[in-house]
Symmetry: C2
Subunit: 424 residues, 2 copies
């Protein structure tokens, strides 16, 4: 770890963020005609015309542009683009009758899927709070609190704890199985932690602090593997492990068999999620003003699991997933896992000062800049072979947008600056 090396990596990230990544979106995403954001782009960055606006893509774009503005990028010009996005969310996606946001609209704003999906609502809280923190416009936190209140009212399992996740438009809980009404997931509980952190940062309210602390306990005590501290994807209501199934409402492309069940359905953990969980918890503790060393044993176990199993030391980058006890079952490379492991490894460096996390960071950084970034276009490929050949080549989609990539660069640059001061 030397000064020039750190500076070089930081400059590479800064250049990518300010000259490639952010411009990719800010020059394309504004839907002047219908409001909100256009989110579907092919490998050349051309609008594919796909006629949908998903709750997660709209809220993630709002988060991205708000957070970039708050972090000082864009010379103050991003606030207007953020406002453009929140207007669409409030005017078109909000259900004035039952409360909450619709899951899917077409570009014009007509409702295509009216279910209330908590995964999407966690990003609503996250992005709306970030928007208020970035711009001062109180509409963000006003709607973030409306969503928070709806979740407390309709989604908590008051018997076993945790949240139900999939509902009809009127907040009637969905049926079991692929309808999702009898499952609890790592995904939702982790993104609620992320959302409640920023909500609490924005409001300072005791209630938001309390629910954040409870969700942190859910993640540590119920969701993470008791020994390996790795995330377990799906549970039944009483927190027994559920085989990983594909839901009717999806928010990503995942590889299931035709029967909709994973191979190794009950023994999968995902390196990107684990590293993301760790750094999000470190961030939550910072906002809560709790010493991160409270959980340092957990962080060490997670980061070591990541570097011992998730990093491809031969060809670079982060694998998809493997068993909790170690080893790899899927060696392809997903864009978002690279993004999250970058931040996680830098937190490992900052927390433990251990060179091995720095080596892992550099490995993934190199893989991202050499293979994942679509050169000359500016965004990242969604999925690559182990060697780094693009498989899915779209730049934007309802399930693949700017939140992981832009956040990874903003957060990594911030951490590299601290590393520079601390270890130089």
């Amino acid at each position: 770890m030397n000064k020039n090396e750190i500076i070089a990596l930081k400059d590479e990230a800064s250049n990518h963020l300010t000259n490639e990544l952010l411009p990719f979106w800010t020059t394309r995403m504004k839907d002047e005609k219908n409001g909100g954001y256009i989110t579907h782009f092919d490998k050349d960055g051309k609008d594919t015309g796909e006629d949908e606006k998903s709750l997660i893509a709209q809220t993630r774009c709002l988060y991205t542009i708000s957070s970039a503005h708050r972090a000082g990028y864009g010379n103050g010009e991003y606030a207007e683009l953020a406002k453009h996005g929140i207007n669409f969310l409030i005017d078109k996606m909000w259900d004035n009758e039952h409360g909450g946001f619709y899951w899917m609209l077409d570009r014009k704003g007509n409702v295509k899927i009216d279910q209330k999906i908590i995964y999407g609502h966690s990003f609503a809280i996250y992005s709306l709070s970030e928007y208020t923190l970035a711009t001062g416009d109180q509409r963000g936190v006003e709607y973030a609190e409306k969503v928070f209140d709806l979740i407390q009212k309709y989604c908590v399992d008051t018997m076993y704890g945790g949240y139900w996740e999939m509902f009809q438009r009127d907040w009637t809980l969905n049926g079991p199985g692929s309808a999702g009404g009898d499952r609890k997931t790592l995904d939702v509980h982790m993104h609620l932690m992320e959302a409640y952190t920023t909500l609490y940062e924005c409001t300072g309210k005791e209630l938001h602090r309390r629910k954040l602390l409870e969700d942190i306990d859910i993640l540590n005590i119920r969701i993470n593997h008791p020994k390996y501290k790795t995330g377990i994807p799906q549970f039944f209501k009483n927190w027994t492990i559920a085989p990983q199934i594909k839901f009717d409402i999806i928010w990503g492309w995942d590889r299931f068999s035709e029967e909709g069940e994973k191979g190794n359905a009950t023994d999968n953990t995902c390196y990107g999620h684990n590293a993301e969980f760790a750094w999000l918890l470190i961030h939550a503790l910072k906002i809560l003003k709790i010493d991160p060393s409270t959980y340092s044993k957990t962080f060490k176990i997670i980061f070591d699991h990541t570097i011992n199993n998730g990093i491809d030391y031969e060809l670079g980058g982060v694998y998809v997933e493997g068993p909790h006890s170690g080893g790899v079952s899927d060696k392809e490379k997903e864009f978002w896992q690279q993004a999250e492991v970058l931040i996680g490894m830098l937190d490992g460096v900052l927390l433990f000062g251990d060179e091995k996390y720095w080596e892992a960071y550099k490995n993934v950084h190199r893989f991202v800049f050499d293979k994942v970034i679509n050169k000359g276009v500016g965004e990242w490929y969604a999925l690559l072979t182990r060697k780094g050949e693009p498989i899915w080549t779209h730049m934007g989609h309802s399930w693949k947008i700017n939140y992981h990539t832009v956040r990874s660069m903003i957060q990594s640059i911030e951490r590299l600056e601290v590393v520079l001061k601390k270890f130089d």
Copy 2:
């Protein structure tokens, strides 16, 4: 069990209810000057002048008079008296700033204790729903739902399940120990079942049904003793048993040592609560349209525990409490336990057709009519010696009102009529 015997008992109860008990209250309770109800009466039924109006006494009076109206008593005249009570609740006890009801006012309506106590709020939901069912006035259910929503938002422990119970005026959770902020109780979770049952009866909403079912699970799985099915009074947040302590905010007179802890602090169960739980659950299942035989093993264990341990076959009536595994530790007689065991034993008769529950009913009925009722005055003594000599002689107080006595008579008469048809 013969026809004349049943009729004689039913007539005795009817006569007491219509000629003594209801008139005791309807001739005294209306506070013409300040609104709401006067609730403090000495052994002769004279207003003691005590300058307080408690949330539980006001809501319980509203329940009592509304339920009597709905059951057909009072020739339609009670609706007005119920309306008089709800007006005070809404105009004076409701906190327009933070939502929820204050715990204690003086007679004029000035706030004496502004804490938000869920025990009291369970009776708010119960009585406000009963009021709408009785009168059709929608203000009742409107405020019942407001309280329900506040409880979902502020009181659920989303990690371990169940509800937190004691809050500051602004719904900040109280501190630990006697402030109550780290305890979960049988009392609150049982009265929430009672409240949610009537709320669901009133609204038919899926959410209210769902939360009722979850609370039933909490009671059966967390709160009742796994073997004896007897209620355990207090728990810590993760449902380990907490020693029974006295809280700063009380809603009854209980006998604690000067240190505020019970003798046998971790091994007490109360016969009146157990019987009350059982019949309230039977009633809830009826409203939910679930066959009570789903829980018949539990009901049998509870009713047998009551008759094997709680009934004083020598001197009559129901003891206060004893260990879960059997035996009695406190042989005095509390009015409300008699009231609840009467209903429970009749449900035992109806569910199992077993003569032993009928014998227990008759025992307690006789004790109530011979010893507990304050003859010529019309209400019941609050506490008596084992032999039936009055110890606490007040007829009304913030912690001792008409809800148990009137409800016991209304519910017993209804059941005696069914017994008459079924077993005659």
